[in-house]
Amino acid sequence: MSMNPFFALAPFVVIAGTAVAVMLGIALKRNFGPAFAMAACGIIASLLTLRMPWRDSPIQAGLLIWLDDYALFYMALLLSAGLAVLGLCYDYFKDREGQHEELPLLLLTALLGALVLVGSSHFASFFIGLELLGISLFALIGYPLNQARSLEAALKYLILSGMSSAFLLMGMALIYAQCGELYFSGIGRYIAGQQDINVTVLSGTLLIVAGLAFKLSLAPFHWWTPDVYEGAPAPITAFIATVSKSAVFVLLLRYFISSGSYSYAPLLNVFSVIAGLSIVGGNLLALLQNNVKRLLAYSSIAHMGYLLVALIAGGSIVVETFAFYLPAYCMTTIGAFGVVSVLSTAQTEADDMACYRGLFWRRPWLAATFTLMLLSLAGIPLTVGFIGKFYILTGASGSRLWGLLLAVIIGSGLGLYYYLRIVVAMSMHGETTATVKPFGRDRASTAILAVLTLLVVWLGVYPSLLMNVIHSITYVIE
């Protein structure tokens, strides 16, 4: 604990500083390439500075932020995901008309919000992080100003996000009214001191859960998801699906464990219903989609449901499950949306199933990457998604959640059908209606997709690599 908290905060400071620098740079002269390059350097620098708090972790940085191995691991994950999305954005926006220099700026602020969320141990930082992330996100979603669908999506997200924040605040207020504490651990002490379930705390927690479930797009709070996924530019969709959701889930788990909410059985019942609905509903609705982005939106609803099953299962394995599943999910999802983004042109977003017909024979590597990502989402061996699913099954069977296990199995079966539909479309022969983009121009995206593909296969075949890292950082439940 000897370390100066300022140094511990270095990763946050670097990101915030880069955001300011990018802003000043834009004020001086608009320049597309350098703005992205500066943001990328900032993220990499932030990744490097993670080492500073790592040595002395856990460390209390300031009043609101608690940096332990758990937080640092996810910060690294979020920063890497942010970097990948930045690279995809660069290729996606470079040929489009308009001014795109603010995009890296917004990505940086969103990333900052996500980092704060992951490190927060107090309701204030929790809320600041969430809002920072949310506000940046709706600017990002509506970034292509001239497209009606993006604007519609942004507006939807704005209004519903506002609603969910209201729920969240109400929940926090209720909990504070009862416990007089804003620190997660303080709430935990209060709950541990009580004999029975406190109704006010329970309703407060439920409201918080409702607010977070919106961000996680868990059923029945998922209505915005398909529209926003469809309307947002593909790389931004990847950002929402991975960084935003992971950060919120990481926070939810931390709050749940440190506040000792596992002792609230009614809460677990509510979670079970939400998880079951998300898995079955998400997968069923995905069956009906012909739009790849909407399809992936519903599939992400289902995936959040799977992860919630792990949360309900609890036990000693839950932290480990999260630490494996979330990176796996991020890699795969960024990979999948990366393919969509590479295929999109300035005129059309490649979200119609027809764009993928015969892709195997036109651009075999891209199609193979997409297939791999889809198989990983479906949880087929050789991919990292399988190990993730294995973790979920292990956790759920350890806690004997037979009903939810059945939901996971049925959901996976349904999932296969719609993932394979895309694969089938790609392997079909025949002419395509989509315009073919000249190959080899998207260097950044190609590199990112290559790295993700390698990671997905490598960790699928040899997961011990990641497991060892996870094991060394396992979060100690207070």
Partner: protein
Amino acid sequence: MILFALIAVLVLGAGIAWVSECRSPTAPRWVALVTLMIEAFVVAPYSVTGQIDGLPTAWFAELYSPWIPRFGIGFHLAMDGLSLLLTALTVLLGLMAVSSSWTEIDKRQGFFFFNLLICLAATVGVFLAVDLFLFFFFWELMIIPMYFLISIWGHENRVYAALKFFIFTQVSGLLMLTAIVTLVQLHYKDSGVYSFDYFELLNTAVEPGVAFWLMLGFFIAFAVKLPAVPFHTWLPDAHTQASTGGSVILAGIMLKTGAYGLLRFVIPLFPEAAQQFAPVAMTLGGISVLYGALMAFAQSDLKQLIAYTSISHMGFVLLGIFSWNLLALQGSVITMLAHGISASALFMIAGALQQRLHTRNIGNMGGLWPALPRLSALALFFAIASLGLPGLGNFIGEFLVLQGVFSINVLLTSMTALVLILAPVYALGMIQKAFYGPRYRHSPLADFSRREWLSLGLPALTTVWLGLSPQTVLDVSAPVLKQAILNASIMGR
């Protein structure tokens, strides 16, 4: 190390086959052929010196290296007589599949042979794995290339068939994974160590209620693959739509993995629950036998007909395994081998006919014998083998199964034995309709080439050998089965 080579050779060959397409479009098939030849040479020493009577256990080769230590998962391969027989079968049928795809596949040969060899590699992995996680890994892995084999190179309705196949096998696979994981959790609670090792888990004490459900999880996965009624509906579709090479592997090898799983995992891991469940399983087996035969008789599509006969024959295997005595088990093993060969051969003939006539409909054939004497003769031979003529392999298997089951359930045996009437009806009916009768008008047809002769002659000889001197095979499989029966009875107490 040789066990690893058994898998590595095929994987390596698959990679080379894919890449070699750049050189010449016909290179992949040569690569596939050479790969399988090498594989045959790797297996051969075991088959020759595989005499293991002296050893205390039935296993005669093992390989272990840690894989995912966090959960006690190892890359653990081991071979006993049963794995050896099935691996040898895999190599033989692999050669047949390559031969039958020689000219049939004219598009994207590289990717085709890549999938074919990966599928074989995963199947060999299934037969060798003695770590449950590794087993499941191979089990799922073998499905993906098969999916591509059906969905890219199949016939008119291939997408539907491939999807159905994939979803059936995957969902049932997940049930099995859940059962595996639960078993491991129970073992963990007992011993405090995670382990997926077969030999560790063999001695897990599971309370009877739970054991039954776990057993059911495994059983469904294997019954889907077998396939047993009522999980069979994917099979006729998949077979009909797959290309000949795909059908050969599907019928010859992939169905055997289901039987292998029952034999290796279901009964040894849960002897009591399996015993409790045996009457149901045996009845399902009996129903499969009769239902498959009846349905086969009603088909007009040649490949569909053969697919239904597969269901019928695999019913015998199910029946034999769950009666759990040495005679019936040995019958099951022989049936697995004999059916693998005869069904694959029939599929090759159906494929050859389709290539020449562009139809699979028996109604559009007729009077083919004069036009295609060699093909027709072989078709007759394998049809007779499949109906169980004494002197050929299938007869030995079915006879032993029926004899073994007789001591346990007389009624079921006598009902099942009715198939001895039904089988000639469908087999000879098929021959009658396709090869005799009024001559259907065809343009001149090419009879079997030398390559086709060779690739069907070898299985024909094997069938005769199995029928005339089954003792060799029985000797190889006996120690395994005796050991398994012994283990199960110890645990049962």
